[in-house]
């Protein structure tokens, strides 16, 4: 027993996998010593401000710069005409389309970039922007995506007229981008034709915005003498930015250094390459001085990566017992004026085909049509692994609607349709191989924890009294960790990720990765993984990301890919080091490597107590006493190409009480059980879940990027766009099960997006459940008091006796 206690003590000292150790990032953040892009202060920095279109759709008749250029302190005003000789007035997008860097003869969405003013400071640049005179000829705006393919619809992209494809397959109309089909249509149609029961429902995942607290920005600094470009940037994928900048500018990648410093939240808003970055880089190259661009909040909400805008019609075929036989989905996707969403290049609708969810559905068919409208580009963002939020929303709503039609309890219908634990690895009808899961256990645990039967009894009593109480369930399956390079790439670069570890002579280490934290505490989590693998304390393992000149190439952080891909790379790089350490230890102990056992932080000779070498001792020996023929040093690099995605899952339950006179919806209880496989730092995981649930609450209950009929944006400041404060934010109860991923070196699956993906439909299901007995099948988000009241009013519930 003493030996066990001693071993446990050594393990605890490492503060490795499973330890809720405090974050290594915190000391600088709580003392105002973070280093964000806008904190970068290079000598001689100029500031750029973008002149933006007041119209959603208009011709640019003329741009007069004279007055702006005459303002003291203004150095340059750039327009598309200035970028044309450099061939930089348009830029390629990740989706095979092109996007105007600065408007080329016409503008296609309100707040589109038209010109850029570069000046001594932000005040003069803003003054200069006011003095740029742009003459517009307004055109009819196309706002409703359902009208995009009408015969008389205004043509948004004149540059594409006559082209029957825009990078993602055949186009059927001037405003059509792509049609993407997956699944077996004939078999699905047949299943529907012979089904005992079918349900069909149109629903909208409305346009929202991730709105991280720090907006996007960059500081570009071109050294004319050396021919070197350095860009500090708010990017979740700095290595990809370097590649894109090289392709655009013609500078060799070796002369470009992209640095993502501390980033104030990303949520997918900071994956893309935006015109503001490009123009700052061009201005720096032209002027030979550092140029800073930092968005205002209004610019952030108006132009950089929105999310969703998926107009979906779902259909389920089932038998009378609620056993699902087929799923059919038709989606109209509003991509805005340019198809520039950031996601794996070959997937026009991302991973939307995960929409069979946690259920064993024999056949399915999905069709997605992407269209242009006069709105800002984007679509893939907001704590979501490439359209998984939309997919989960669809199936979790549809299964509730089926339950309602059949009069089956909403938990029971899930139990009847779950993929069974013994079916894993499970091949879904739409082509995915789910790695592992235990869905019934998760839901049962939640039902027991909240006394589900008791809640339903209470609800029945309240309904008799005319009170509105809703119970929402969501049993979601995520697909994260993009991805296997055989199916996922960005501009042709496979979606692997990387880790390089160097162990120093005195037993501390530095690890550098191709991912990029935007608040998820990678410096802590990766250090814990490496600590457990190497037997060195996490406290002395320094983790660095974001500097393309020092970190190995990686695809960055989004789609919950850091732990599934970067975490795996860390573990495997550490294991390479441990393999070498074993040989050094064998050499030092004069035994064969096979005679050694690994024991927490040291190698021990089998059966000979006391004969051992700690990793710290081995690290020293690696620099002075290695076996003959072995290279000195103790380092390794791993480029990890995952064999599959990972499939985290969870069971959530939400209880809401709705005021039948005002529509105000109070979240009484939210119980979230997550299974993300092996848990590295439970404190950080819980924090991620709290944050994701709060963002889910925001989306479900209030967020909407709204436009009027002319394409004017109605919700682009924090006065109009809902971000919950501490007062509105509900309190969360969290729980977990652990079903490791069989293919991940640590069994870990990723977690940060699950609460957002699973949380949104859980809230919506709760609100809808409150009206279930009144025959309401579906109410779209956001469930603001006014919107809920409209339903109440239509039902006549708000009439006082």
């Amino acid at each position: 027993m003493a030996a066990t206690a001693e071993k446990m003590e050594r393990e605890q000292k490492l503060e490795g996998i499973g330890c809720s150790r405090k974050r290594k990032e915190d000391p600088r953040f709580i003392q105002g010593k973070g280093n964000y892009v806008d904190d970068i202060n290079l000598a001689g920095t100029l500031f750029s401000v973008v002149v933006r279109s007041p119209y959603a759709h208009a011709r640019v008749k003329s741009i007069k710069k004279d007055k702006a250029l005459a303002l003291p302190g203004v150095h340059a005003v750039l327009t598309a005409e200035d970028l044309k000789p450099l061939k930089l007035h348009w830029m390629p997008t990740l989706a095979g389309d092109v996007q105007a860097v600065l408007a080329d003869q016409k503008v296609c969405f309100q707040y589109q970039e038209v010109a850029v003013v570069i000046a001594d400071n932000r005040y003069i640049a803003a003054d200069g922007a006011e003095l740029v005179e742009v003459e517009y000829e307004p055109l009819p705006a196309l706002v409703d995506p359902h009208k995009a393919m009408d015969a008389d619809a205004p043509i948004i992209r004149e540059d594409l007229v006559g082209k029957d494809e825009a990078g993602q397959g055949k186009r059927l109309h001037n405003n059509h981008i792509f049609r993407w089909e997956v699944g077996d249509k004939a078999a699905t149609d047949k299943a529907f034709a012979g089904a005992e029961v079918t349900v069909k429902q149109a629903m909208l995942n409305p346009r929202v915005h991730p709105c991280p607290l720090e907006t996007c920005g960059c500081v570009a600094s071109f050294d004319k003498v050396r021919g070197e470009l350095t860009v500090y940037i708010t990017s979740q994928a700095p290595h990809v930015v370097r590649t894109v900048v090289s392709l655009l500018s013609g500078l060799p990648e070796s002369k470009i250094r992209v640095i993502s410093p501390d980033i104030g939240g990303g949520f997918g808003n900071k994956v893309g390459v935006y015109p503001g970055y490009v123009t700052a880089i061009v201005a720096s190259i032209v002027l030979g001085r550092p140029v800073k661009w930092v968005e205002s909040r209004i610019e952030n909400l108006s132009t950089t990566a929105f999310a969703r805008d998926y107009h979906m019609v779902g259909e389920l075929a089932a038998d009378k017992n609620g056993r699902i036989k087929a799923l059919r989905v038709d989606v109209l996707a509003d991509h805005g004026a340019f198809n520039s969403h950031a996601q794996p290049t070959k997937w026009p609708a991302g991973l939307f085909s995960i929409c069979t969810g946690s259920y064993d559905i024999p056949v399915a068919y999905v069709k997605v049509d992407g269209v242009y409208t006069n709105k800002a580009p984007g679509g893939v963002a907001y704590r979501c692994s490439f359209r998984v939020t939309e997919a989960v929303h669809l199936i979790e709503r549809m299964i509730d609607i089926l339950a309602q039609k059949l009069g089956i309890d909403k938990a029971e219908i899930r139990m009847r349709n779950f993929i069974k634990p013994e079916q894993f690895p499970y091949h879904s009808a739409l082509g995915w191989e789910y790695d592992s899961g235990n869905y019934p256990a998760a839901l049962k645990k939640v039902m027991a924890a909240v006394d589900y039967t008791g809640l339903r009894k209470e609800q029945a009593e309240k309904r008799k009294r005319g009170e509105l109480m809703g119970i929402g369930i969501c049993t979601f399956t995520e697909i994260v960790g993009a991805g296997p390079s055989k199916s996922c790439d960005i501009l042709g670069v496979g979606m692997f990720d990387s880790c390089e570890i160097r162990v120093h002579p005195t037993g501390s280490a530095i690890a550098r990765l191709g991912t990029m934290s935007t608040g998820q505490a990678h410096e802590t989590t990766y250090a814990q993984i490496i600590a457990s693998e190497l037997g060195l304390p996490s406290e002395v393992i320094q983790v660095e990301e974001g500097d393309t000149s020092t970190a190995p190439y990686g695809l960055g952080t989004y789609g919950s890919r850091s732990t599934p891909v970067g975490g795996a790379a860390s573990a495997r790089a550490a294991r390479k080091i441990r393999d070498k350490a074993r040989k050094i230890a064998a050499h030092l102990l004069e035994v064969s490597p096979d005679d050694l056992d690994w024991d927490v932080d040291r190698f021990k000779v089998k059966g000979v107590p006391g004969q051992e070498k700690t990793m710290k001792e081995i690290a020293w020996a690696a620099y002075n006493n290695v076996p003959p023929g072995m290279e000195m040093g103790l380092e390794a690099v791993e480029y990890y190409d995952p064999p599959n995605f990972t499939y985290p899952f969870g069971a959530y339950l939400c209880v809401v009480d709705i005021d039948r006179y005002t529509g105000e919806t109070k979240v009484r209880r939210f119980y979230a059980l997550d299974d993300c496989g092996t848990r590295i730092n439970p404190m950080i995981i819980e924090g991620q879940i709290h944050g994701g649930l709060t963002e889910a609450y925001a989306v479900a209950m209030g967020q909407l990027i709204a436009f009027d009929a002319d394409g004017n944006l109605l919700s682009n400041s924090l006065m109009d766009y809902f971000l919950p404060t501490a007062v509105e934010a509900p309190k969360w109860e969290t729980d977990y099960t652990v079903t490791p991923s069989p293919h991940h070196p640590l069994g870990a699956k990723g977690v940060a997006e699950s609460p957002h993906v699973g949380g949104i439909p859980c809230f919506t299901n709760a609100v809808n459940d409150a009206f279930d007995h009144l025959g309401v099948t579906h109410i779209d988000m956001p469930h603001t008091a006014f919107n809920v009241w409209k339903t109440i009013h239509e039902l006549g519930l708000d009439k006082r006796a």
Partner: protein, 159 residues
């Protein structure tokens, strides 16, 4: 534009500088005085990332003119710790995992610092109302409430 000469104390030290009358306090703090702890998250005084303490009150320095600080006392996150000793609110945020990306944190800390002087023994709900002028996109606030309670308890004990 003619500049104005202003002087005030910043984290206990006297500073003087020339500013345009229209210059915002947050820009002067960050760009002239290089105190970049306070952040800019919006321009409508909703997010609170720029919250500093001016003459004993929490203000959003993105909507305060620098000239309004003339003759005043300004405290920012850089001035919270003393002699290498963290203020209890700083300690609380770290112990209770009250931050993630760190961008709202300086504003949250400065508001918590002032709030606990206004209400040294708050309930959880009072903390939520007291900090409702500060937005956080990462944490969901539960751990921020715990962090403030941690600080309140420590300050009660004289920490």
């Amino acid at each position: 534009m003619a500049k104005k000469h202003i002087s005030f104390t910043l984290n206990g030290a006297a500073v003087e500088t020339l500013v345009e009358p229209r210059e915002l306090l947050i820009h002067v703090l960050r760009e002239q005085l290089r105190q970049t702890g306070s952040h800019i998250g919006c321009e409508t005084s909703h997010c609170g990332a720029c919250t500093v303490d001016l003459n004993g009150k929490s203000v959003k320095s993105c909507t305060v003119l620098a000239v309004q600080a003339d003759g005043g006392r300004v405290l920012t996150v850089e001035g919270l710790a003393h002699n290498g000793q963290l203020h209890p609110v700083q300690e609380g945020f770290m112990q209770e995992h009250g931050l993630q990306c760190g961008f709202c944190t300086p504003g949250m800390l400065m508001r918590s610092y002032r709030f606990l002087q206004e209400n040294p023994k708050p309930t959880d709900d009072e903390i939520r109302v007291g900090l409702s002028g500060n937005l956080c996109r990462c944490t969901g606030y539960m751990n921020i409430v715990k962090a403030v309670q941690y600080a309140a308890a420590k300050m009660q004990k004289g920490g």
